[in-house]
């Protein structure tokens, strides 16, 4: 055997190895049911979207294995995040986000969660916005029709605000508004947006900062009205409610993100698979119709755009928390 022949053999076998290693990196597909961790209780906004995503996937057979939502509501998302952190490298675990994934690592440093290194962000599907709501027949807010009138009223009187619990989005928002407009309110926490809406209409609180869907029933029945929406533009689901930009308060802008993340340390193929799956769900007609009717903003974001967005939001929330006490 000549040297050339030997070399040729080596080249052939090396290329075989190369070919086989390429074929071993074939596209990922799930081998067992996918756990979808929800860092909140059953029946809340994140739970609703998680179960909608599950339903859309199941109904259309978008995935070869079922998706199983699991609620881990403890510790403002701390329990869920600790769980996913421990699952590093696991290819069958996902987590849906509330904004508590941005605040809990800061508020509870003892958990040791590193937001930027313990998770693999996949995609953002929806952003939900917030409005200032008052009861149509509120005992303290009677005759108030605009946001400016409301600010004047709130400055003079200690109004009561109903919210969804400590360090939740609406309490942070109250903190933000306190800085911007110089009024304070007594914050009473309830169990979830539905109970907050009921407390407002039942006369226990004077105003709330609820999501669109949380107040939708009472909005449609005329029991409560919105004064401002915290976005640059009006929302088609609430055509008569002005945006904060229109009213000249561009700093009053706030979103709740519904994004999905995988644990840290998963392969690029796994990341690609789940991002693709979420993309299919995002473009599903039923998914689109439901969210638009519910007043949510369809806002797909992935890759570097998502990473930038998360970094900005994380910093922004850190700032709000710092100014809070």
């Amino acid at each position: 055997m000549t040297i050339i022949k030997k070399l040729a053999l080596v080249v052939v076998s090396l290329s075989l190895v190369a070919v086989s290693s390429v074929s071993s990196a074939k596209p990922f597909s799930p081998k067992k049911p996918i756990e979808l961790i929800i860092p909140a209780g059953q029946g809340g906004g994140a739970d609703e979207i998680a179960r909608l995503v599950q339903g859309v996937i199941e109904k259309n057979d978008y995935a070869s294995k079922p998706v199983i939502p699991i609620n881990k509501k403890g510790g403002s998302g701390g329990e869920a995040m600790t769980y996913v952190k421990k699952k590093a490298g696991d290819e069958h675990t996902l987590i849906i986000t509330l904004n508590n994934v941005l605040t809990t690592p800061v508020n509870q440093p003892e958990l040791g969660i590193d937001f930027f290194n313990d998770f693999t962000p996949l995609a953002r599907l929806i952003t939900d916005t917030f409005l200032v709501w008052i009861a149509t027949e509120g005992k303290n807010t009677a005759g108030i029709n605009t946001f400016d009138e409301f600010i004047d009223l709130a400055k003079g009187n200690g109004l009561v605000m109903g919210g969804t619990g400590s360090m939740s989005e609406d309490e942070l928002l109250l903190g933000m508004m306190r800085g911007q407009f110089g009024f304070d309110a007594k914050y009473v926490p309830y169990d979830g947006g539905g109970a907050v809406a009921k407390g407002l209409v039942g006369g226990e609180s004077d105003f709330t900062l609820n999501n669109p869907s949380e107040q939708m029933g009472f909005y449609q029945s005329g029991d409560s009205k919105a004064l401002v929406m915290m976005t640059p533009e009006r929302n088609p689901a609430f055509p008569e409610v002005p945006s904060s930009y229109e009213l000249g308060y561009p700093d009053l802008e706030y979103y709740m993100m519904r994004a999905f993340m995988a644990p840290a340390g998963v392969d690029a193929e796994v990341e690609k698979y789940y991002t693709g799956l979420l993309h299919t769900v995002y473009h599903d007609d039923e998914f689109q119709t439901f969210n638009i009717d519910d007043g949510k903003l369809m806002s797909w974001l992935e890759g570097y755009g998502l990473k930038d967005f998360l970094a900005i939001e994380y910093a922004k929330h850190g700032e709000i928390i710092k100014n809070f006490d």
Binding site: G41, Q42, G43, D47, E48, R51, L52, Q54, G55, V56, E58, K59, P69, I70, K72, K73, G74, G75, S76, G78, E79, T82, Y83, N107, Q108, E110, L111, V160, G165, S166, M167, S168, K186, Y187, V188, P189, Y190, D191, G192, G194, A195, A197, K198, G199, V201, G202, G203, E204, S213, M216, G217, F218, Q220, S221, D223, F290, D293, D294
Partner: protein, 504 residues
């Protein structure tokens, strides 16, 4: 009259082929999830929600409501037959259902549970049909101070729950309250009492983990010690005489049925309470008001009827705020509410006028679901009784396995299984020392509700306790509060009163 027409239309809707099929199927699934420890109506409904996307909303809600309903019946089965609460809503059923079964009167216990559930369910759906709008208004006015007053009243009735040893009862209530504060501070959201920094404590102590531990494991240890493993369940035969005996035992439970049905419904329509507190409270109140309250806990049919009546009644009641106000009256309705939103409906004040077919289809189906579950239950009693023929040497490991899965299922964490075993052992020790354990179980359910309502009220009143006693601004809260105080001191002054009169 219009209501009546709508109701008939609703019933006709539930007799459509698809709807009726789903209704019966739902009742059967409900019976199963209710009877399996750890799998309650919350899990059952949550698991089945995605399936409902393929049918119209009316069929979907009929199906899920039937599951919810069936689970209320099903929970009683394992409570009575195995002494493990099948679901949190059936914990109070163990108190008297289990002793009845041990006495050889399992037939009576199961019949009482089935009939009680039927009565509670039917009374509540009639109340629902006739008075939904005004009751929604009541729910809307029932805020934090009122809720706290109601919880104080519940605690007051429980002081009488543990027999005559009031200090031991109060000790047991306090243990339950301390356990209920583990996890997250309800107002500030900060973790508290996280022992050794174990993350499993972040979600608090699940009520079912405690109940399954104390009743399932504790009862097993107790039976093993008492009998040295040689358990002889009395032989049971199913014949007309036994059935007649079971039904005649129900004659004495009229008061329990009334309390269970009306109190259950009322607690059900209050936001965030639900069937578990309702069943525990109606057990406590029935016991307090009963002439033979000392016999409660040793196996009286009224002790089974009261909670079973109440949990069905409350589950119907909790649909009222869900439909009319868009707020859940119980954890299960929270999931149903999510489902309704996903089906494209907007729960709230306009739902009755915008979606009459959906609302009345649901209400009509509740009447029919009630009837079917009663028939199914009575028919299946002989099958359930077979469990008692299994030798204890085989049954004990089965109970153990069911307890472990039951402790694992609600949160899917092994941490809770260890806790459950610990509670089982602790409960057994408490029992040996003659401490009542039921009050601890009750206060872990009501503790968080009471704490939250109290702190919300005190934020509103700037820390003044006056908010609970002011007749002019909070008439409902004040009335309930004063009733609670009377109930609380009654066991203390009762004996004095009798002594005084005997002497005189």
């Amino acid at each position: 009259m219009e209501t009546f027409t709508l109701l008939l239309q609703g019933m006709a809707t539930s007799f459509e082929f698809l709807n009726l099929g789903l209704l019966i199927f739902g009742c059967l699934i409900g019976l199963f999830v209710g009877a399996m420890p750890g799998l309650g109506s919350v899990n059952g409904v949550a698991i089945l929600i995605p399936i409902t996307f393929i049918v119209p909303p009316t069929a979907a809600i009929i199906f899920l409501a039937a599951v919810y309903y069936g689970a209320m019946y099903g929970g009683a089965i394992s409570s009575v037959m195995l002494g493990i609460p099948g679901a949190s809503t059936a914990v109070a059923t163990v108190f008297d259902g289990r002793p009845l079964a041990v006495k050889g009167e399992a037939m009576t216990a199961l019949t009482a549970a089935a009939v009680g559930s039927f009565v509670g369910g039917t009374v509540s759906v009639i109340l629902f049909t006739l008075f939904a709008p005004p009751l929604a208004e009541v729910a809307l006015r029932f805020n934090a101070p009122e809720t706290f007053a109601l919880m104080v009243m519940a605690f007051a009735t429980f002081v009488g729950l543990g027999g005559d040893d009031i200090p031991k009862t109060i000790f047991s209530i306090l243990i339950g309250l301390v356990l209920s504060t583990i996890g997250l501070d309800l107002i500030t959201g900060k973790p508290r009492l996280i022992f050794f920094g174990i993350p499993g404590f972040l979600h608090g102590i699940n009520f079912l983990v405690l109940a399954i531990g104390i009743y399932g494991i504790g009862e097993m240890l107790w039976t093993l010690e008492e009998t040295k493993g040689k358990v002889q369940m009395s032989k049971l035969s199913v014949n007309m005489k036994e059935i007649g005996k079971a039904f005649s035992a129900l004659k004495k439970t009229f008061m329990a049925m009334n309390i269970g049905s009306f109190l259950g419904f009322f607690v059900g329509i209050l936001p965030a309470a639900g069937a578990t507190p309702a069943s525990l409270m109606s057990y406590g109140i029935t016991k307090q008001l009963s002439r033979n309250s000392k016999e409660f806990g040793s196996g009286v049919p009224a002790g089974v009827v009261a909670p079973e009546c109440a949990n069905n009644s409350a589950s119907t009641g909790s649909m009222l705020p869900m439909l009319t106000l868009g707020i859940p009256g119980s954890p299960t309705t929270a999931i149903l509410l999510g489902g309704m939103i996903l089906w494209g409906l907007t729960p709230g004040p306009l739902l009755f006028t915008q979606q009459p077919e959906f609302v009345w289809g649901l209400i009509g189906s509740l009447y029919i679901a009630n009837f079917f579950t009663l028939v199914l239950n009575i028919a299946l009693i002989p099958a359930f009784l077979m469990v008692l023929r299994i030798p204890f040497a085989i049954l004990a490991p089965v109970i153990f396995v069911l307890c472990v899965t039951g402790g694992y299922a609600p949160t899917q964490s092994l941490h809770d299984v260890w806790l459950m075993l610990l509670f089982g052992f602790g409960g057994y020790m408490l029992r040996k020392l003659d401490y009542p354990v039921a009050p601890a179980v009750l206060s872990i359910v009501l503790g968080p509700l009471a704490e939250k309502a109290m702190r919300q009220s005190l934020i509103l009143s700037d820390g003044s306790m006056g908010i609970f006693f002011d007749f002019s601004s909070k008439p409902i809260a004040a009335t309930i509060m004063y009733i609670a105080i009377v109930l609380l001191i009654m066991p203390a002054i009762g004996p004095l009163y009798r002594k005084f009169f005997k002497k005189a």
